[in-house]
Symmetry: C2
């Protein structure tokens, strides 16, 4: 029998992955509870039109080699099940497993002897070998050895998903040796640069280390920026020359770390070691989170200070936050710190508008924010360059 894939989760990571696998000549069944997404895919219409290359693949494959459904039962014929669903944090920064658990239990209900399950969702340590394995076995009645289970963390970068899938290295590790080897063989079918590691937990920590590296280094860049401002030094000039040193990689400062990945992953590790009573191992991570989350207040203060130094009435000045996506160049506003900044300034009683090259006036207004072209504002804060400037009257 040939390989048939199911992909649980047709979000911004899952749908491109499903389409990519399908484009390599495999039948793929995509499962998602969102009926709108499922219907669009089956009609050959891309629900994420800002992802380069996805339009063509969905148009070509949607409803044919790539079939979407809201029911896990439609994935029964698949023998490789990839789970790529959100795993966020609750108010207490604890992981919210409900989407993962639901997807895994559904896979468990259709799991057959010889099937492979791969978790692509980034997860806290041991999730694959403990929680996922238990859920699968409870539902399926199968035991490891009768099925295979591995972790291969997605490394997707929104806006260049296919470049990443085509050219980036990818890691896979099994909960046992046979699972790792089989998952490696299957992934080799569609990922050129696939790397087998010794266990699922190594694959899990690899992804968490990448995210934490980035969060800590963004915090350091933000610190350096604030220090340079205090010292009367142009941070960008100093950074350029410090980074001439081939072993120095100082990142860019920002309004904080947005999105649903980098600000989330440190908490997986912070929770793990806090629950072990080893707070000393996570202080650096907590401090990095504190710095990055504090950047909204820092920039709100800077903008207020800039406005306060003007001769006009601060409350009557139109302020435009230019660039409100969670990072420059994309249209995603979910998890954006720039939105938090706009709302913080509004809460302070200022006359705040927003603008983004990639986001329409309608979308802005649907979020309860007001849209204004930067040229028509009195003061503009550009979240990409971090420049606050006044438009000439």
């Amino acid at each position: 029998m040939g390989v048939v894939f199911s992909v649980f989760g047709l979000g911004r990571a899952g749908l491109p992955l499903a389409a990519y696998i399908s484009s390599k000549g495999y039948k793929v069944i995509g499962i998602d509870p969102n009926k709108r997404i499922v219907d669009m895919v089956n009609k050959g219409v891309n629900p994420y039109p800002d992802e380069p290359g996805l339009d063509e693949l969905i148009e070509k494959l949607g409803g044919k080699e790539l079939i979407a459904s809201t029911s896990y039962k439609d994935a029964a014929e698949a023998n490789v099940h990839i789970i790529i669903v959100p795993l966020g944090l609750d108010e207490e920064k604890r992981p919210v497993y409900k989407y993962l658990e639901a997807a895994v239990r559904n896979v468990g209900k259709i799991l057959k002897k010889g099937d492979l399950v791969v978790i692509e969702t980034t997860v806290p340590p041991f999730t694959t070998e403990r929680l996922v394995k238990d859920w699968l076995e409870e539902e399926s009645g199968l035991k490891l050895g009768e099925y295979y289970l591995a972790h291969s963390p997605e490394r997707i970068i929104t806006g260049k998903v296919f470049e990443v899938l085509e050219t980036y290295p990818k890691v896979v590790g099994g909960v046992d040796k046979a699972s790792g080897e089989y998952a490696y063989k299957i992934y080799k079918l569609f990922i050129k640069d696939i790397h087998l590691v010794s266990s699922a937990r190594v694959a899990e920590i690899t992804k968490l280390m990448e995210g934490i590296y980035r969060d800590v280094n963004i915090a350091l860049a933000n610190l350096f920026y604030m220090m340079c401002e205090e010292l009367g030094i142009d941070f960008f000039e100093a950074r350029e020359h410090a980074n001439h040193h081939k072993h120095t990689h100082i990142l860019l400062p920002s309004t904080g770390v947005g999105g649903h990945c980098i600000p989330v992953y440190p908490w997986f590790i912070i929770n793990e070691f806090t629950s072990r009573g080893q707070e000393g191992l996570v202080k650096l991570l907590l401090e990095s989170r504190r710095i990055n989350d504090g950047m909204v207040e820092y920039w709100a203060d800077k903008i207020e200070e800039y406005i306060g130094s003007s001769s006009d009435n601060p409350n009557k000045m139109k302020i435009c936050i230019k660039g409100i996506a969670f990072k420059p160049g994309v249209s995603i506003i979910s998890g954006s710190r720039n939105i938090v900044l706009a709302k913080t300034l509004m809460d302070r009683g200022l006359d705040v508008y927003v603008y983004d090259d990639n986001i329409s006036k309608e979308v802005v207004e649907s979020m309860g924010l007001r849209w204004l072209e930067p040229a028509k504002a009195d003061v503009v804060f550009d979240t990409a360059s971090l420049k606050i400037y006044r438009n000439k009257v």
Copy 2:
């Protein structure tokens, strides 16, 4: 008149720099209070034989184009004065300016109109434009404009000084525009990849940011190592795959950060902001220092635990610390955390010996430590690979 250089400080950074400039065809007068070093140089004998390439240059130039002296008065004919002397910390982690102040004041005593002074010593922010300028002007009676003053932080890496001077980018910035431009012109005579920045303070912070980047990232590597150990994961395997991601640069863990550079520079910034009452800006730096300084205790515990799990009497087992220089591949023990580790284990009543491929038995014993070949010990800790192992009996 041609350019004649003085170099104040003939240590491991200053002497190679003096020799390098001299090798480009310039007369260089090197000043150092250490008579032994001065005499060796003038006889053409290299006092730092482990620095590749230095033997040849000192033999060729020493006492001829490169003249050493203990008296600053012998540098009176120089019109470019480079100061490259130690600047360490006292017990309270405050900068010890005495060597810098002495060298600067001596330069001030021979300073002539039109001379250039360049500080290569890595210094706290504003040192060049405030302290150094004041000392120079007090001694010389000259005012900026009559002389030039700049900062160009050394980026020397012991063991490959000439490779660095020949191929690495180097930064220079003046306390005023004329100083920067003149210093750039002079450095261009012997440094290929010289970069002019807008001020001396930008040059200062560039070097401090490099050092702090490294200290924080070594702390992060040490954290990741300790976390992986707790989780039963091979850190080196996880690191290798995390670093496949082209934007991830996780460094290597260690017994801490040794030497007189990286563990020192964060304190320059910590002091600056603590004295401004801005402790929030330096918590990440303090935590990184805490982690790195704590690695000696961590490894002492690991070694004790390893020995304790053996059937033999722990106090009778010969333990060899293999690799005691401040970093692998050099013979410098000053500031080495590996020496601190050996002494920590001795204080715990264990039978400790040390060994290093690059350090003789005599030198080891002169430090009050005992030398033993690793093969003759019961248990070896290799500080480079971080492996603790038992020799087969």
